[in-house]
Symmetry: C2
Subunit: 576 residues, 2 copies
């Protein structure tokens, strides 16, 4: 630690601090005031607020100084960027600290995946904290690449970069007092760590049980009722504004002066395109303000509130002893972040990062060779129909949830056959960890793709290869392209690849920069919407990627089959 | 720890909890709501809010259920009661947790004193946490009974009952980077503990330095300006309502919805008489409500806010996993606390404790034989006057502070002599730890005592024997009675003892119960006001006890002489 004597000398201005930001309008999150004053910074720490002389002085008169933003919960893998590229992308947008859950890569590479993320996050001008993935695999109803038990997490729980146990999606496991689930909870409790929740729709006694098990936060609320139920029981609510799930509009209506200290902001899963075009946590703040939240209250949800919730002692405020993670903002109307200081160093200016990161020369085999599937032939994709009506997954607009519908489909020789006049697509989840060659098959309504297929190795949370299409030839074509890329996303039409984005790191992340990823991604989005006519009320890639996640209702598909989330068991596609 | 499986079963009501409070109006400090619901309790922990069946069920319909109150900062010794008797006195008034600083007894008995308090606080139906006294002795400008250095505190800092370092009164030591002071601060910082402040009037760069040194709380604010200055720099403000210092009326005006989460309530120094007649923290809450604070906001200042500030994880709210420290209140108009549950057990009802405490049969010599002074004779009390005017301590109404005034006094043979027409009393501080026989002498205005003397071994913080009177004979008489009692308070008039209260434990606490102490104390108060005509705008005993404390301005007296707090040095009584 920096010597206390020196800090006191600096606060007294007996010695001159490294840097003084002169005369800015400081946002005070303790009192909800704007205070015109200097900020004195030395060795990355704020040493004084008042009138100070420094070795360097920078005039910030008429500008606002705001604490750096904290994203309370996200999966970096969902940005398809490595931690380094993610940092370069969101730091200029004001995010100086994130609390990430590496559970995507863990499902593929296990502990090696977590260690890779920790290592990639070191020496960056951003504080990347991690929660240890609690559900790898997410459920027993799917095949994944690794199993993490409580004893596996033990070696990591007390690392400085680890804040606790990641989202406990296996809430049925909590309620049923599953031994392994309880061991993970105990690991966090015994080490005085935070436990993140993920328990949509739980209520009454089950919610009480979830809370008493040590779960402290929730980011899966989609209704005010769920949010209030959880706030009342003492949970912190992380209001999410991701790419597939956007809850801020709905939830912000319930935020008031009495409960705001328990409300935080998070992005959870956010694509490069939205980060580049709309922003990151800065976008959530602007959105909250546009919905009537006072400016400083909106800022608190991404600064002091998460700092208190996650015990980040010296973050989230502009006061002596706090880290000098500071944003210079022109005004609160456009909320343009002109400069970002991380621990007192100017790291971004006018939306551009001012630092370089050191890249790895090569990645180890286990990170870049993770798509292990046999050749897929048409025979593998046939769906046997033996009932009059079948269970179909209906995609819902702007949601990670789906709805089970039951209807008649066209068949030929007792097998499903595509009907150009009906919006029914085929969905396949192909085990890709080289374990068992499983293929799960289902039918999907309201995705509305025509004349092609989309395949991806991003398929929460086991990240098997997921593919959707309206003909088997294009499905196979897209699958083969993804295989060739060693993971990623591909779009086919008329047996040709229209575009593909290689995500060679675990099939989740590109080793390229955000501009490359975004260019590819925007082109694919354009193709999906305008060439394949995908429903414009959904994000095709994000929606696809959540269709294999068996913990968000109502009906999902894993490599092991069609899954009814409410009943928490497999169901037959045939409705008998 | 209680097994997680069992807790989950209880929350699910798969097993019946010990106790269910049925149908009460629960005060929710997270959402500022009143929610009609059952509270299920097992093994001292709240296991569920909702509809529950229990082994025992108690109907609390139409009653309010409120989390037990937390006193954020106090000195139990100031109640003149042992921890056990203190607990019996304040628990029925709703205080279920206190954060105490045993620095009075430490100044007399050192580490033995702290250990005595810790031991006396065990197995009580109250959580008594302690802060380690940071300033023993308070300053180098007085003689006390023990010196506690950082290395002495090391053995205690990580005990469960210890939350951190007690009020850092030696703020000049912080500012001047005194080695020993910094070592104590570092001890707390390195062990991730809280540091309480005590720094009235510090501002600007010195306040920044105080905060950067790790000081997190302040309970010495007497003006809104001081309070806002500290809130802005991230300190928590403990709004004090003690017997001598009453700050709530002034400070509550600055509390609002934006800063209330940083505001707490404390009693600091509170006499039995006020506890019995007005209350403890419940009184502060009622006072805050009467000043316009919303009921639940007032409750938050004594529940969830201190719990967050002092990291008392499972306290301050009614939610699953929290300790079942609960108050049953009839209504918010009279705020009468009908019942108090501590960890699920009914411990007080209709203002009476329902538990017994086990007393010690005898106290060790070092706790009950602490008044070691020589015989005091008139010669020891003479004040030499060599200047035209002299420096006099003026007592201020309802305040721990004093004001230095300069005026002419009557003399005889160059010595001060009492003048029946002038309100000038003699004050003596007599070293009583058997160290050096020091006697400090001064003159006092506005105390207004006539025809007698009051002596006491409560004299913050070194607790030498302090005595005030308008004639030397009564001064000596009162001193001798205190000596005879082995510590305590005595009032003399016309060379006779009118009343005395033995405080045989370290000269600070009675081994008797609160009724005895209060009876004695009320009688003495009556004598002081109505027989000796003491100024009714002051509390004679509390005011007297703070007149030797050289860290609260403007002018004080120690056994070493008259002390100018602002200049932080001794001054001569003669103003030259």
């Amino acid at each position: 630690m920096y010597k206390l004597e020196n800090l006191i000398k600096l606060s007294l201005n007996e010695t001159n601090p490294d840097l003084v930001l002169k005369g800015g309008n400081i946002v005070n999150v303790f009192t909800n005031e704007i205070i015109k004053s200097d900020v004195a910074i030395d060795n990355g720490i704020i040493v004084g607020i008042g009138e100070y002389h420094g070795k360097r002085e920078i005039d910030v008169a008429n500008k606002y100084i705001v604490p750096g933003f904290i994203d309370s919960h996200l999966h970096i893998e969902s940005t398809m960027l490595t931690p380094k590229e993610f940092c370069k992308a969101v730091l200029p947008r004001g995010t100086t600290t994130v609390i990430a859950d590496p559970h995507e890569i863990s499902n593929i590479c296990g502990l090696d995946g977590i260690n890779y993320m920790l290592e990639e996050s070191e020496n960056l001008p951003m504080d990347i904290f991690y929660m240890l993935p609690s559900c790898v695999p997410c459920t027993e109803f799917e095949s994944n690449g690794a199993i993490l038990k409580a004893k596996d997490l033990q070696s990591l729980i007390n690392k400085d970069m680890i804040l606790g146990l990641g989202e406990m999606m296996n809430y049925p496991g909590v309620i049923s007092k599953n031994n392994e689930v309880l061991s993970k909870l105990k690991l966090a409790i015994d080490n005085n760590k935070i436990i993140d929740g993920h328990g949509p729709h739980i209520k009454d006694k089950e919610l009480n049980a979830y809370v008493i098990s040590g779960v402290t936060t929730e980011h899966e609320c989609s209704t005010i009722e769920e949010m209030i139920d959880r706030l009342r029981l003492g949970m912190y609510i992380l209001i999410r504004e991701g790419s597939a799930a956007k809850n801020l509009n709905d939830l912000i209506k319930a935020v008031n002066k009495d409960n705001i200290s328990r409300c935080l902001l998070c992005s959870d899963d956010r694509h490069p395109e939205e980060i580049l075009n709309k922003g990151h946590i800065n976008h959530s703040i602007k959105l909250a303000i546009s919905k009537g939240i006072e400016v400083i209250d909106a800022i608190k949800m991404a600064t002091i509130n998460p700092a208190i919730c996650y015990k980040l002692k010296n973050k989230g405020a502009i006061a002596p002893g706090y880290d000098a993670d500071l944003l210079i903002i022109d005004n609160f109307n456009n909320f343009y972040i002109e400069k970002v200081y991380k621990k007192g160093i100017l790291v971004a200016k006018y939306n551009k990062p001012l630092f370089n990161v050191v890249y790895k020369n090569s990645y180890e085999e286990n990170f870049v060779n993770t798509v292990n599937i046999s050749n897929i032939r048409k025979e593998n994709l046939q769906i046997k129909i033996t009932s009059e009506k079948v269970n179909i997954i209906r995609v819902l607009p702007h949601s990670l949830e789906t709805k089970k519908i039951i209807k008649r489909v066209k068949t030929k020789n007792n097998k499903f056959t595509f009907d150009k006049d009906e919006d029914i697509l085929k969905l396949a989840v192909i085990e890709r960890h080289g374990k068992n060659n499983n293929i799960g098959l289902a039918l999907v309504e309201n995705f509305k793709l025509r004349n092609g297929a989309i395949a991806s190795t991003i398929a929460h949370d086991s990240h098997n290869l997921i593919v959707i299409g309206d003909n088997d030839e294009d499905i196979i074509c897209a699958v083969n392209e993804v295989k060739r890329c060693r993971g990623g996303i591909a779009i086919s039409s008329n047996k040709k690849i229209l575009e593909s984005l290689p995500l060679e790191i675990a099939g989740l992340m590109s080793s390229k920069d955000i501009e490359f990823v975004n260019l590819k991604f925007e082109r694919m989005l354009d193709i999906a919407y305008n060439y394949l006519n995908v429903n414009k009320d959904i994000d095709p890639f994000m929606t696809l990627s959540f269709m294999a996640l068996p913990v968000i209702g109502d009906i999902k598909l894993t490599d092991k089959g069609l899954f009814d989330v409410n009943k928490f068991k497999f169901i037959d596609i045939n409705n008998k």
